[in-house]
Structure formats: C-alpha cells, structure tokens
C-alpha cells in the first residue's frame, strides 16, 4: 500500500525511457486526441508493436483510451508526468543550492590563489 505511489512512478519512468513512447506522448500533447492508426503512421514499426507501446503508456497512466465506433481514441493524461516532475524536483532542490555553494567556495579559493600569486610576484619584484 505504502509503495503504491512508488511503483506507479517506476512505471512512469520506465515508460518514458523509450523514444517511440516519448514521441507518441509529444504528439498527443500537440494534438490532444488521435486514433491508434494515426498514431502509428509516422513509425516504421508495425501496428501490433505500436499497440504494445500504447499498453505500456496506459499501464503507467500516461494515456487514456476510449472506443468510438470502430476506432480507439487516445488522449494524454498529464497527472503522472506532473508527479514524475515533482519527484525529480526533490533532487533538484537537494543538489541545486549545494552546487551554488560549491561554485561560491571554489571561486573564493580561486581568488585566494590569485591573490597569493600576485603577492608573490610583487614580493619578487621588490626583492629585485
């Protein structure tokens, strides 16, 4: 029970790994609602392969399918992607400020090294 959300996110991330599935999602984002045959058109793969990809996307909750007469309409459902984004954002919130501080620290170190070098050069010039 506790892990339900975790498993659901795993399905979203593994669904997104495949470029064909990402292309399908990107197209659905543009066109809202498409039939399976229209979705399959741009791909060099056969219809059953496209159907399999759609199954994976549907299992992850990324698309919804509905029957209209003899055709099946496919729509995007954005909620799982939003959840995936939120999950990744937790790591962004962890690392992003840390890397900003890393940058500031390294820049201070760089400034000190330069100052030391300038000091050494000036000292060298004076002793000449």
């Amino acid at each position: 029970m506790v892990n339900y959300e975790g498993h659901a996110l795993d399905r979203v991330f593994s669904a997104l790994v495949d470029p064909t599935r990402r292309a399908i999602l990107a197209r659905l984002e543009q066109e809202e609602c498409l039939s399976i045959s229209v979705i399959a058109e741009p791909f060099a793969i056969k219809l059953p392969a496209v159907m399999k990809h759609l199954d994976v996307l549907a299992d992850a909750g990324l698309i919804a399918r509905s029957k209209r007469g003899r055709t099946v309409d496919v729509r995007l459902s954005a909620e799982p992607l939003r959840e995936a984004r939120e999950w990744l954002d937790r790591y962004v919130r962890f690392w992003s400020p840390a890397l900003d501080r890393l940058a500031a620290y390294a820049e201070d170190q760089e400034a000190e090294v330069r100052k030391a070098k300038v000091g050494a050069t000036e000292a060298g010039a004076k002793s000449e």
Partner: protein, 153 residues
Amino acid sequence: MTSLTLVRRIAARPSIVFDALTTPEGLAAWWGPDDLPVIKAEVDARVGGGFRVRFRTLDGQEHEAFGECLEVVRPDRLVMTWRWAVGGEPEERGRTSRIEIELRPIESGTELTFTHADLRNAASKAGHEQGWSGSLVKLVRLFGDTPSTTDQV
C-alpha cells in the same frame, strides 16, 4: 534509469573545483540542501576509496550519505556511488545510485556537469540511452505545471 543533470559555470580553474569536491574541507563547505554546517565530511578520493557526509536539514533532521569512488581523474572527472545511510529520500533508501561529475575547462574557469544517475532503477532494462534525461525534461516541462527551473533535469 532516471537521471538528473545540473550544469554550473564556475569562475575557478578545474583543479580548484575538483579539490572542492574531493577534500573534507571542500565537501564541508558546500554539501547539503540548506545553508547549515555539515556535521561530518570524510573523503578518500582514490578509486576504491569512499566518502561519507552527515548533515542536518532545516527541519532538524540528520541525514548521512556515503559511497565509493569508481573513477577519480583529477581534474576532469569523478564518479561515485551514492547511498543513504540515514534519512534521505525514503524510496531511495537501500538503493545505490551514481554520481558523475565532469569538469571542462572554459575561458571563464570551469563548466561543471553534475549527473545523479540510476535514480529509481526501474525493473525494466529497456533503455539507458543518451539524451534520455534531456528528453524527460522537455516532456515534463511540456506537461508539468510546476514552475520551470534554470536547471536541466
């Protein structure tokens, strides 16, 4: 195979940035999500060596992460495993992910590319292809309604 990539341009030479990543003083100066002092920072930056950092977040919780150095090429590249010992993200506890850091010299100093890879190892071995994280970003940005950050995700 989810990964997160962040890029920073730093006005310091790569060797200085590398040392900030691989010395206890360096790690202690920047580690953690909040601007709080690090409790413990240990690092042995050699292949087979490791790191361990304990830190506190603003909510008072203590967290500890540790890992092993897989690649150490000063000043270009650092690869480490990453695991939570205490605290951290509950779903990631007990999982090992990977941190890859590339330092590239640029005119103004260093371009740092930080990747936290293998987050949420999916059971499927379907893919580990190049460009996946960039594509995810585009997708998630298109559909997500959270404000976008300047980072690449």
